[in-house]
Structures are given as structure tokens and as C-alpha cells.
């Protein structure tokens, strides 16, 4: 490529458009520099720097909510800036901020380096934000790999714990497999769309609009549909949809609790941002709706049923919430299916994601606080009598779980309602029936957890001299209390009043 072409390409770079991502990268580096410069006794300010940086970036994003490049492509079509992209950026920043706050609780109990944890969280967040705005399969793959590799490290971060290492290895193997499938699908599409004998062939077949144009001109090409199926399989791995959910329980159990939260919320959100860009109403694969709709429909039904039924028998709360997260992924796929015909479904998915974020972090916060030295050992029995020892934590837990279960008046109910309304409008009746069944099943295990925390049950007296069955309960620090209380209140408030969110949702 000659110099002129490079100059031409660079002219399209609007660096200020990805200022939040660059900001996160700089802060991530700053953390490492601070670790070198500051004496060890001052190292506890470094997590604060990470949290403050995330918060500042979030505020900056909100202030610049409508930059002029919304709706246009930058970086030669690698990135496309949309309002949905802004929403997802806010989503990732919020969840990363909460992960950093939870990590302070969890990392305190472990003797291991801490700064790298925050560093990786920031880098992963930046990758997610780019992923949600990618407009090109190369961008998609690079961002996805950055985030996945970061998560490999985070999952096995507790390197003294075998459970964590096992989870890391499993996640690595499964992640590599899924990346491979994704890449294989991309390559197939690249090859097909670049074939000069086919109509509408393109010299830039990985650029979304170009590819969409090609697919629209060849709506039943076998190799293209094979590529699409592989890409969907790769994405399904990331969001933990049936039949690619097998890694979920073990990885969620072994990973440090904040990382579990990060996987459950942010990583899943990233997967859905990709899925919407690919399979939504004006997505890349919209010409292949004849293929994607049945696949996603079957996947949604199976995911909802599998997640809920498998969660019924779990005793470890991390596995339980992992499998319940699988069923939530099913609900979101239901929204994606609906979004192909019903515009409101897109807003419903984003609302659902935010409601899920708030509720999940309330639950994960309580889990992080109650966990003992062995982070993977969090059993349902450990919650017995929680309401008596700490009514506050029990209430936060109940609100969070209630919202996840979709009980009015909490935010989770509104999310489910919007998705169900969209699904009905799109005509997916049977899926709706399965979703309703899923809600009923989920009540059993969510309320089983609440029951463990609230209802007094007779327990056999502990053998004298034996170690206490559950980790000792400590009082809630004011900052943690404030965070958890705010999350619980947000779940309630968003259930009663949707305000601008609702208007954004219902926009034509």
C-alpha cells in the first residue's frame, strides 16, 4: 500500500470518537506506573484510582451522549457509532465500575497481587466497548479476543485455588474452541463474499454493510449459510446459550466472585451487542433471517428450559446463578428473535440488560461480602439465618433475586414484560409459553434461596469442636452498605418509574 493510501485511510480516523476507550487504556497503564512509583503502603489507593477513572469516563460519556459522529462510520468503517453503542458503552463502564468495587471485598481475603486485576478489568472493558461498536469482522475479532484473553487471566486469578485454575483451563479450552469456530465462520464468509463469480461480490467482504449487501444478493448460498451458522455458534459460546452452555457452571463457580459477575453481566452483554448487530432487524445477516430465526428460536427455547431446569438442583450459589444466567440469556435471545420484526424489542433488550445488571450486582455484592477464604465454596446453607443476623443484606438479596425472578414491582419484571410483549407482537407464541413456563420454574430456585436466607429452619447442633460450617459473618462496611442499598433501591425505583428509559424504549 502506498503512502497516499495510508494517508487517505488515516484521514478517516476520528480519535476523539473513541476517547473513552483510550482513556481506559491510559488509566490501565497509569495503574501499573503507580504500582511502581508508590511505596507499598500506599497501594490501596490504586483500586480507588481505577474506580474513579471508570466513574469519570462514565460521566464524560453521559455528558457527551450525542456527539456529532453518531450514525456515521469512522476508522475506514471499522467502527460505527450509534446510540445503541453509547448505551452499551455505559453498560460496560457501569459493570466494570461495580466489578472494581466488589473486587475490593474479595481480593482483601487473598494474599496475591492486586493491581493487575484492575488493570485487566480496564483493558477488557475497553475491548468490550469497541466490540459493541464494531462494524467490521476484523474489529469484532480483535476486540473479542482482547476481551476473552483478559477474561482467561481473570477467571484463574486465584492461582492458589484449584477450583479457579480448573475454571481458567476450562474457559481457555472452550473459549479457544469458540474463537476458532467464529473465525472459521468469518473466513468462510470472507471467501464466499470475495468470490468474483458471484453477484454483488465485494473487495471488502468483512465490512458489515458490504457483507450485508452481498448476502442480500445471494440469499440462499450454502457456504454463506454455513459461515453464518459457525459465527452464531461462536457467539452462542460467549453468551452461554444452549447447546454451548456446558462451561458455565464450572467456570462461574471457580472464578473469583467479581469475575463471575463480570462474566455473567458484561461478557453476556457484549455477546448480545454482537448478536443484535448481526441478527437484528437491520443486521448483517438480515437477508438470512430464514436461517437465523429458526436457529435462534430453538436456541432461545432450549436455553430457557435448560438453564432453569438445571438450576433447580444446584446447591452452590455460584453455579445456581450461573445457570440462572443461562436462562436469562434465553430470554434475551427471545428478544433478539422478536427484534427482527418488532422495533420495540431492541429497547426491551437493553432495558432487560440494565435491569439484569442492577439485580445481578446486588446479588453478587451480597455473595462477595459473605464469601469466606475459599471463594468457590458458597453453598445455599451458608445463607441460613441471614435475615436474623443482617436484615439489610437479606433484604438486598431478596430484592436482587426478586428482580432476577421477574417479580413486580422490580425492574426485572419490567424487562421481562417488555421482552414478552415484543415476543407476542412478533408472533412467537410458543416461545412465549416456554418463557412463561421458565419464569414459573425459576421461582422455585430463586425463592429457595430467599427461603434459605429468611425462613428459620431447624439445623442439627454443630458437633462440638468442629469447624464452623460457614464462613464467619462480618458487619457490612458503610461503603459496601451504601453500594448495595443503592443497587436495591435502583431495582425498585426502575420498576416503578422508567422515565426517559421508557420513552427511549417506546420511540418509533
Amino acid at each position: 500500500m502506498n503512502l497516499e493510501a495510508v494517508k487517505l485511510a488515516a484521514a478517516n480516523n476520528v480519535w476523539s470518537a473513541i476517547f473513552p476507550e483510550m482513556m481506559l487504556g491510559c488509566i490501565a497503564l497509569l495503574l501499573l506506573v503507580l504500582e511502581m512509583l508508590l511505596p507499598p503502603k500506599h497501594h490501596e489507593v490504586i483500586p480507588d484510582v481505577a474506580a474513579a477513572g471508570l466513574f469519570g469516563t462514565l460521566i464524560g460519556l453521559i455528558i457527551n451522549w450525542h456527539p456529532i459522529w453518531i450514525g456515521s462510520e469512522t476508522f475506514n468503517g471499522l467502527i460505527r457509532h450509534t446510540e445503541a453503542g453509547q448505551v452499551m458503552r455505559g453498560f460496560f463502564l457501569t459493570s466494570a465500575l461495580l466489578v472494581c468495587l466488589l473486587a475490593r471485598l474479595t481480593l482483601r481475603r487473598q494474599a496475591m497481587p492486586r493491581i493487575e486485576f484492575y488493570h485487566i478489568v480496564l483493558v477488557v472493558t475497553a475491548a468490550m466497548m469497541l466490540l459493541a461498536q464494531s462494524n467490521h469482522f476484523v474489529m469484532l475479532f480483535v476486540a473479542l479476543e482482547t476481551l476473552t484473553i483478559g477474561l482467561y487471566i481473570l477467571v484463574s486469578y486465584f492461582r492458589t485455588s484449584t477450583a479457579s485454575l480448573e475454571a481458567g483451563l476450562k474457559y481457555l479450552l472452550m473459549g479457544a474452541l469458540s474463537s476458532g469456530m467464529l473465525l472459521f465462520g468469518i473466513v468462510l464468509l470472507y471467501g464466499v463474499a470475495g468470490n468474483p463469480t458471484l453477484p454483488a461480490q465485494s473487495t471488502q467482504p468483512l465490512h458489515y454493510p458490504e457483507l450485508a449487501r452481498f448476502l442480500a444478493a445471494n440469499p440462499h448460498h450454502f457456504l454463506a449459510s454455513l459461515g453464518i451458522v459457525f459465527i452464531l455458534a461462536g457467539v452462542a459460546f460467549k453468551i452461554g446459550a444452549f447447546p454451548f452452555q456446558i462451561w458455565v457452571p464450572d467456570v462461574y463457580q471457580g472464578a473469583p466472585t467479581p469475575v463471575t459477575a463480570f462474566l455473567a453481566v458484561a461478557s453476556k452483554g457484549a455477546g448480545f451487542a454482537v448478536l443484535l448487530a448481526l441478527c437484528g432487524a437491520h443486521g448483517v445477516f438480515s437477508a438470512y433471517a430464514w436461517l437465523t430465526t429458526p436457529i435462534l428460536t430453538a436456541m432461545a427455547a432450549a436455553t430457557i428450559l435448560f438453564g432453569n431446569i438445571a438450576a433447580l438442583t444446584q446447591h452452590n450459589v455460584k453455579r445456581l446463578i450461573g445457570l440462572s444466567g443461562v436462562s436469562h440469556a434465553g430470554f434475551l435471545i427471545l428478544g433478539v428473535v422478536a427484534s427482527q420484526t418488532v422495533p420495540m424489542a431492541v429497547g426491551a433488550i437493553y432495558f432487560y440488560l440494565f435491569a439484569y445488571l442492577i439485580a445481578s450486582f446486588a446479588v453478587f455484592g451480597v455473595m462477595s461480602h459473605l464469601a469466606g477464604a475459599d471463594d468457590s465454596d458458597q453453598e445455599l446453607e451458608h445463607y441460613s439465618g441471614l435475615a436474623k443476623d443482617s436484615p439489610f443484606l437479606a433484604t438486598v438479596l431478596a430484592v436482587g433475586l426478586g428482580s432476577l425472578a421477574g417479580i413486580p414491582p422490580l425492574a426485572g419484571f419490567m424487562g421481562k414484560l417488555f421482552v414478552l410483549m415484543a415476543a407476542f407482537q412478533s408472533g412467537a407464541r410458543w416461545l412465549l409459553a416456554i418463557a412463561a413456563l421458565g419464569v414459573v420454574i425459576s421461582i422455585y430456585y430463586y425463592f429457595g434461596w430467599i427461603k434459605a436466607a429468611f425462613f428459620e429452619t431447624w439445623t442439627p447442633p454443630a458437633e462440638s469442636g468442629g469447624a464452623p460450617a460457614r464462613p464467619a459473618r462480618t458487619s457490612v462496611a458503610p461503603s459496601t452498605g451504601l453500594l448495595l442499598g443503592a443497587l436495591a433501591l435502583a431495582s425498585i425505583a426502575l420498576g416503578f418509574y422508567q422515565g426517559p428509559w421508557g420513552e427511549w424504549l417506546a420511540r418509533p
Binding site: P408, Q425, A436, V440, F447, F455, R507
Partner: protein
Amino acid sequence: MSPFLTDPLLIAIAAPLVLALAIALGLTKRWSVRLAYGAFSVPFLAALHVWWHYAAAPKMGGYAFLTRYSTGLDGLGIGLKLGLNGISLPLFVMAGIVGLAAGLYALQSQAERLKIYVMMLLIMQGGLMGVFASVDVFYIYFFHELALIPTFIMVGIWGGRDRSYAAMKMTIYLTVGAMISLVGLIALYVKSGAHTFDLIALRAHLAAHPLSVTLQHNIFGLLIFGFGILVSLWPLHTWAPLGYGAAPSANAMLHAGVLKKFGLYGLIQVAGPLLPAGAWHWAQPLAWVAVIGNILIVGLVTIAQRDLKQMIGYSSVMHMGYAFLGIAAGSALGVGGVVMMMVAHGLSVALLFMLATSIYHRTQSFAMDEMGGLAQPAPVLAACFVAATFASIGLPGFANFWGELMVFIALWKFAPLITILAVSGVVISAIYGLRSVARIFFGPATEQMKAVAAKHPPVDLRWSEKAPVLILLAALLFIGFWPKSMSQAINETLATMSFREPAAPTQALPR
């Protein structure tokens, strides 16, 4: 002044909820209890206020006191629209009265962790007022679910025997019912094409463009199945006696008395008028299930009960059968009768549940075989229980009489055979009602009763118990002797609604 502060309906909903939130945020126990007296009185006073002013209030689309608050979902046709028509007004008033009685009783009770207990009851009360004050179908559902949550927790924490099992069973059943009715309501929303949950707009839209007959059949089927579970339609009623048997009394009063009426209310206010062809299609099967299942089978099961609370629970399931019959009969007379019955049943069953707990405090048992002779040491309790039983059987002088009478008259036009079977159910309720009175209060005391009485000599009703009893009894008698106070509003509204019979509305209700 801001409309927030002068809207009696919003105040009635918000007062309990605000206090519940304040308690959750850490109000002290002392102030929680003190302020709770106020928070239970406010809905009661608001209810009396709107009852008094309803006739003269300006009405729009049949609703008085209309206000609307946006929650940001206007684009989806969802908004907090409050108002009362002739169907919701009596129930709103009843919810205020029963709520005050249950609240007073709970505040005087010596429940453990009283603060959370009161908080739960406040959430329930706020939700109940919201159910009947909402004009938006979405919010009717929303407030119902809000009021339902505390039931699970209250049964689980303060419940009696089998509480954990009862709480879970109740929750699963009620969630199934709620989800099915939610799907039905979404179907109504989407298929009507009006894209609004506002009941007034929906009615106008569907009057102009009725749904196809098949759709009406299907949606009404979904709704009757979902609402039916919530109202304990046979054979999906088994959660009710179990749950009420285990529930603490204040919770049972509010749930059996008021909250359970949501399903019937939904059928009368939403499903019936909007889907007349569906109502006609399902009337015969519904009537047969109600009369054979709810009235006769459950009636006989009620006779067989030895446990007082279980007996009241089953009897309430049985009485729901009459309500379903009135809905099946479908005329303005039948539906008006159901509204009257819902009010009367709510008051009387709350009274019975409360008195059952009072009896328990004196006998230390719910088993009726182990009681006897309680009338001598506790004559006021005996008199009140007898009155409540008479009301429940439906003797003249109590509100229940008018409701059942109207249902039977309407039913005769609809299906004489069913009417005969249904009337024989009154005999069943007389049998178990009078027998329980005889067992508990009259005759010689049993050995167990003597043993208990030796340790704790039974005393008569205390004032803390008398106050809620008197409120409920007064309301029952007031409506019993002056039914027009309720029926006028019911009549006016039903006259404007087209039920499935296109015949001219009749001056059916007693004036």
C-alpha cells in the same frame, strides 16, 4: 396545590408504601408502629371520602376521580391512571376497611420482628388499594403482584404448621396463575390493536372494532384459567386452604378477604366487558365447574374439616364458586351480585380468620374437636363469631345475603338446574358453619379444653381485638341493611356496560 397532594386515590396507595420504604430504610420500631396506625387509617379515610363523594363526582368514561401520572411508558400505552367506577368503588372501600382492621389487629399482636411484619402488611395494603384504584390494566396486574409478594414472606416467617411447604406451594400456584393471566393480557393488548392498557381506551376501541370470535374464545380462556387459579377455581384450589391455614392472621385477612378478589375483579372489569363472545363461550363450562367443583365437592370437603382455619379456608374456596356462577350468568344482575358478594365475603372472611386466631389464643388449638363451652367465659367472642358465621352463610341482615340472592336470581334465568344445585350449597355452608359454632362455643368443654383452661383461663375479647371486629361487623351490617349505599354505584356502571346479553339493562339491583 400539586395534584399529588389532593388525589385521594394516590394518597391511599402511596401512604402505606412510603411508610414501608421508610421502615426498610431504618425507621425505629417505636415510630414504625406509631406511624403505621396512620398509614393504615389513611387508605380507610380515603375510601370513606370517595364513597361519600362518588355520586356527586364528575365522571369521564364512567370513572370518577380520574388522574393520570406518567411513568415514561406513554409510548407503549402504559401509564398510572387512577379512577373509580361502580365496580371498583365498592372493592376499594372494602379494601380500605379490611386493611384498617387487619392493620389494627397486626399492630396489637405480639408478633416477633413486628417491624418487618408491619412493613410487609403495609406493602400489601398499598398494593391492594392500587389494584382497585387503577384504570390501567397493566397497573391492576402490577399492584396485584406487589401485594402478593408479602404473602410468601409472611407465611414463611410467621406462619404456622407446614409454613415452608405452604409458602412454596402458594407461590408456585399463584405464579402460574399470574403468568397465564399476564400472557392473556398481553394477547389482549397486542390483538386489540389499540396498543394501550388504558381500560377506557380499550373499551372504546373494542366496542368499535370487536375482536374475532375465535380470538375472544382463546384470550378469555387464558384469562379465566389464569385468574381462576388466583381465585382458587376447582380443581386448582388446593393452595388456598393450605396457605390460609399456615398464614398469620393479618395476612390471611388481607389475602383471602381482598387480594383473592383480584381474579374476579379482572374477569368482571376487564375480561367480561371486553370479550363478550368469549364470556358466552365459557359460561356453561365455568358454571358447571363452579357448581360441581367449588360448591358441592369443596363444600363437602369443608364439612369434613376438623381444623378451624382449614375449614374457613375451604369455605372461602366454596364461596368463590358462587362468584364464578354470577359471572357465568353474565347479566347485569348477576355481575352486580358478584360485586356485592365480593365486598361482603371480603369483610366476613376477614372477620372469621381474625376470630379464629382469637379463639386459638384461648384454646391453644385449631382442632374443633378439642374445644367446647367457650361461650361461657367469652360471650362477646361467641356472639361475634356467630354473627360472622351467619353472615358467611348468607342470612338476611348481612351484606352477603344480597350478593347471593342476586346471583341466584340471575342464575335462574341462565340455568335452572345449576341454580338448584347451587342453592343446595347454602345448606352445606349452614351445616359446617353452625356445627363449628356448636363445637367451639356450646356444649361441655372437652378434656383438652379443660386442661388448657386450667392453665390459662380464657378471657373475653380484649379491646385490641374488639376494635377490628367492630369495624368489620359494622360494615357488614351497614351494607346488609342499606345495600343501596353500594348498589347504586354498581348499577349505574353496569347499566353502561354491555355484557354478553345485548338486552336492555334492567333495574335489577335493590334500590
